[in-house]
């Protein structure tokens, strides 16, 4: 049997160009779509759609965001709260921080309400009433942008 000499092996170099091309394209894509805004979204909340819901022209200055899930739980500052009283005490602490450490009035602070489309309207009203008790006045009811007319399908 003839044995091939081992020392004669040539170096095989893979062509890296397509891989680098693809990687740069991926980086370009992610750079284009990246969003550093601290938009408070929660996947547990499915917002109701509206063709008139448009993003605000200017971002709110230090807004408070309250989520309401379909099963009636409140989500505030990352904590899921099952009772309105707990939400109230959390908001009360927030008001004390705002009044002590900022020059803002509570009436100028926007409360963003992200309520699930199947949540009870009464609970949304209770959130608003609780905030009103604490002297908040500005509310933003958040909805999902829709291309289709939502009032003609009801």
């Amino acid at each position: 049997m003839r044995i091939r000499p081992k020392g004669d092996s040539s170096i095989v170099e893979g062509d890296l160009t397509p891989m680098i091309d693809m990687t740069f394209q991926l980086i370009a894509f992610f750079m284009m779509v990246i969003n550093f805004s601290d938009a408070e979204q929660d996947q547990r909340v499915k917002l109701p759609a509206s063709e008139l819901a448009k993003p605000p022209a200017a971002p709110y200055e230090q807004p408070l965001t309250i989520h309401l899930t379909s099963n009636g739980h409140f989500i505030y500052a990352g904590n899921e709260l099952t009772e309105l009283a707990r939400l109230r005490s959390a908001l009360l602490r927030e008001t004390q921080i705002i009044l002590r450490y900022t020059s803002k009035q509570l009436a100028d602070v926007t409360v963003i309400i992200r309520a699930d489309k199947n949540a009870k309207t009464g609970l949304v009203q209770e959130i608003i009433a609780t905030c009103q008790e604490l002297k908040f006045e500005k509310f933003a009811l958040r909805g999902k942008q829709s291309e289709k007319s939502t009032i003609r399908g009801a």
Partner: protein, 160 residues
């Protein structure tokens, strides 16, 4: 004069490894920081507490009341504008038309002092309340242009 042999050149090999390393690190950073942000929008309402609003000047235009009645399961049972029951197949489209007739909309920008109060049943699903707010605050015409109707919308106080 001695002429240098030009055929014997050193081949310059570019080191690709550091570049590929950094490119992959960038890629991993972007992949991990990527989050899908759904397009969302707001309806801004100003609702001072009942005691604060009593001290303000009362509006000259009468307050319009929209009542939303719910079935026991929270579905929409009936829409009412004042005493008029909107009982068609698309009650919110009807409501929108009624509001347009009331505020005298002619396709121009809305600038009315009219205030609308929504009185909804406690168990009503929120999407119907959002539909009512949409119907009251404006509409999108066939050209995709937005028109505003009533900007002052509020919820009726909850019954004690």
């Amino acid at each position: 004069m001695k002429i240098r042999n030009t055929e014997h050149r050193e081949t310059v090999v570019l080191q690709m490894t550091p570049m590929i390393d950094i490119v992959f690190q960038l890629l991993v950073f972007f992949v991990f920081t990527f989050k899908i942000v759904l397009p969302e929008g707001d309806f801004n309402i100003r609702m001072p507490s009942a005691s604060a609003s009593q001290t303000s000047q009362p509006s000259e235009t009468p307050l319009l009341k929209v009542r939303l009645r719910a079935t026991p399961t929270g579905e929409l049972a009936r829409v009412q504008l004042g005493d008029v029951v909107l009982d068609g197949s698309t009650p919110f489209a009807q409501l929108n038309q009624e509001i347009r007739n009331l505020v005298g909309d002619s396709g121009g920008p809305g600038s009315t002092e009219q205030e609308v109060e929504i009185e909804a049943d406690y168990d009503l699903k929120y999407r119907y309340a959002m539909n009512a707010i949409t119907a009251i605050t404006g509409y999108v015409d066939d050209n995709g242009e937005q028109h505003k109707l009533v900007e002052r919308v509020r919820f009726a106080p909850l019954p004690q």
